[in-house]
Point group: C2
Chain length 364, copies 2
DNA sequence: GTGAAAGCGCTAACAG
DNA sequence: CTGTTAGCGCTTTCAC
């Protein structure tokens, strides 16, 4: 495929020599600019040589010259790459790739000044832009002095509003959660929250309660239990609720996240309750590693991790970071699957929960 | 911190100008080589200027000159970055970082020739070496023509034995699985396999049966059920087994992986059986997203994902790829947690399952 | 002890 | 239409 008679990568000069032209000419052939003035014959000979030698431009040299590396840096502000951040990285990767760029990925470890070290290391390699992300949505501690580079946050924000960011619209997601349940006719609802310290927690709950009222259920009638984002919390809270007599037991439980929903599944199994016939369950996150574990498949609401990464990379690739609003909120759309059924004794319109348009990004 | 009066990153020349010396001198100060001949005074002035300007070397320029980029490429041969591969990337990342390098990460997507495109894109950026990995251990289709770069596989192998690789020692892991159970006195054992097509499946089972014999249990006495690596398979298979009368029901179930173990947990909950009192369970993989979901915590066997990434990166960083054996097998060590108890009616030595030395990497 | 100069591989004026 | 030349920012040999 590339029968190069050389022991090193061929250079422009090698190609030129083989085609009997100057390196410049080769460069012109390879980088068609506006005013092309290369004869068809020369072009053909050059391309032939390029092909014969298996020539590929040295992007390091190109970068030095063009002062553009075709490289986007992404630093994950965690001790390691984690599942949630992985999705964001995927989004950034795919957009970058489609623009001919690749990703320089690092994480902050547990090092002191991890963030600054990571950013510097990437900036030194002249990345064209920088994305900072993390696993759960949160405020980031950014170094005081930022490298002079386009910078965007994904699934994270900075309290000073100095750096543009992409965030999940959690209130919207909370409303979607409620809508999935209310549209199926449920009125005895329970909501199991994640831990109160997390940025998303109160927004999800607030959205849920708002939407519930739209459906004629009083906020006060929703059984809200405070927990934390793990299986055992969902398990423990659900166990209590499911021990209630049939007449007062909630017919549907909304969970702070998918892991808690798993806990609810376990509690239901123990209580001999079937999902969704006896109990409807909605999760949150649409977190693949959990989702794939559950039968029946979990109805949930999707965190736009991939999109946050994608849009962040897009802003960098298009050089439009300057025009970005301070915060862009992306919808958390409902993902109806099999864990929600009509409330016992209720009949819905038979079309299942209506999934309304998930809407475009909102800017605030 | 870096009050540069410049609108661009300062260069060596800028530093030299400020310190009143040539760029050469600055370079000498910054790159202490064997024969240092810089006066203490000059050195001090230079470092002062470096500091004042917040100078950091341009690694693109360095790379061009030194023909070494301090960059390792890793391509994940999957449509996207996945959880298992993430661990391997973490291992490679951490080793690379400790050597002053960073990772250029990409995946092959679903593109035709994805692998070649990915490798080329990284090779063009002059990575110092290349790691190829994937999510589940398997043979890789490598392009016929490889870029002239050190290349190592992690959690993958090529059938032609042309490229060195790091692999999990699955047979060893299978033996560990059995040991955890046999040491606790279990003799009525069941083994639920993953799907037969996967490279690891038969090795795990074979190791299990081998070890079981060491403990005086005939291979034929082990109830082996063929399934696949998902929760529902573990669930379905376990449901059958747990329906058996107490006297013949297995007291312990070994699972092809952690997800199947989750299925066993669900079946146990439905059957009203407690883990580990009534049933001991062992998983495989030590896959964090699943592990963290289970109560009691799952006793399992660890896949050396992180280490495969780490060692692959180490070989590249140390330039020792040439000395690598064709295949290096890393141990899958037992991870005793809470899902294994002494077999009913048996008393063990009270120290729980003995965990023997997990051993070093074996080369074949 | 320090600096001038050449060059890594490529691009882009500017000549011819 | 094509080639010469001058760098991008850095390292390194060799001269002073």
């Amino acid at each position: 495929m590339a029968p190069q008679g050389l022991d090193r990568r061929p250079t422009l000069a090698d190609v030129g020599r083989m085609a009997g032209v100057s390196p410049t000419t080769v460069s012109f052939v390879l980088n068609p600019r506006s005013k092309q003035t290369i004869s068809a014959a020369t072009r053909a000979r050059v391309l032939q040589a390029v092909n014969d030698l298996g020539y590929r431009p040295n992007r390091t040299a190109q970068s030095l010259r063009r002062s553009r590396t075709g490289t986007i840096g992404i630093v994950v502000d965690e001790p390691a790459m984690e599942a949630f951040a992985g999705e964001t990285v995927n989004g950034a990767h795919d957009l970058a790739w489609s623009e001919g760029s690749v990703l320089l990925v690092t994480h902050t470890g547990r090092r002191p000044h991890g963030m600054r070290l990571a950013m510097d290391e990437l900036a030194d390699r002249q990345v064209d832009g920088l994305i900072v992300t993390c696993s759960g949505t949160r405020a980031l501690e950014l170094p005081e002095t930022l490298p002079p580079l386009p910078l965007v946050l994904a699934n994270a924000f900075d309290d000073t509003y100095a750096v543009p960011c992409f965030l999940p619209d959690e209130r919207f997601g909370g409303r979607e959660t409620a809508r999935l349940l209310c549209a199926a006719g449920h009125r005895r609802l329970a909501y199991l929250t994640g831990h109160a310290g997390a940025w998303a927690t109160s927004l999800r709950l607030e959205g849920f309660l708002e939407e519930v009222e739209q459906h004629g259920v009083a906020r006060g009638d929703v059984v809200v239990r405070e927990g934390y984002y793990y299986v055992d919390s969902g398990h423990a809270l659900a166990r209590e609720l499911l021990a209630l007599p049939d007449a007062t037991r909630p017919t549907a439980i909304a969970c702070g996240n998918d892991r808690m929903a798993l806990g609810v599944y376990l509690a239901a199994a123990e209580a001999g309750l079937r999902i969704p016939e006896d109990l409807s369950v909605v999760g949150y996150d649409d977190h693949e590693p959990v989702i794939t574990q559950l039968r029946p498949q979990l109805t949930t609401v999707r965190l736009p991790l991939y999109d946050m990464g994608r849009l962040a990379a897009e802003a960098l690739a298009h050089g439009s970071v300057g025009q970005l609003p301070q915060r862009t909120y992306l919808p958390c759309p409902a993902v109806p699957r099999d864990s929600v059924a009509a409330a016992p004794g209720r009949h819905t319109d038979g079309r299942g929960p209506r999934v309304r348009e998930t809407g475009r990004a909102r800017h605030r």
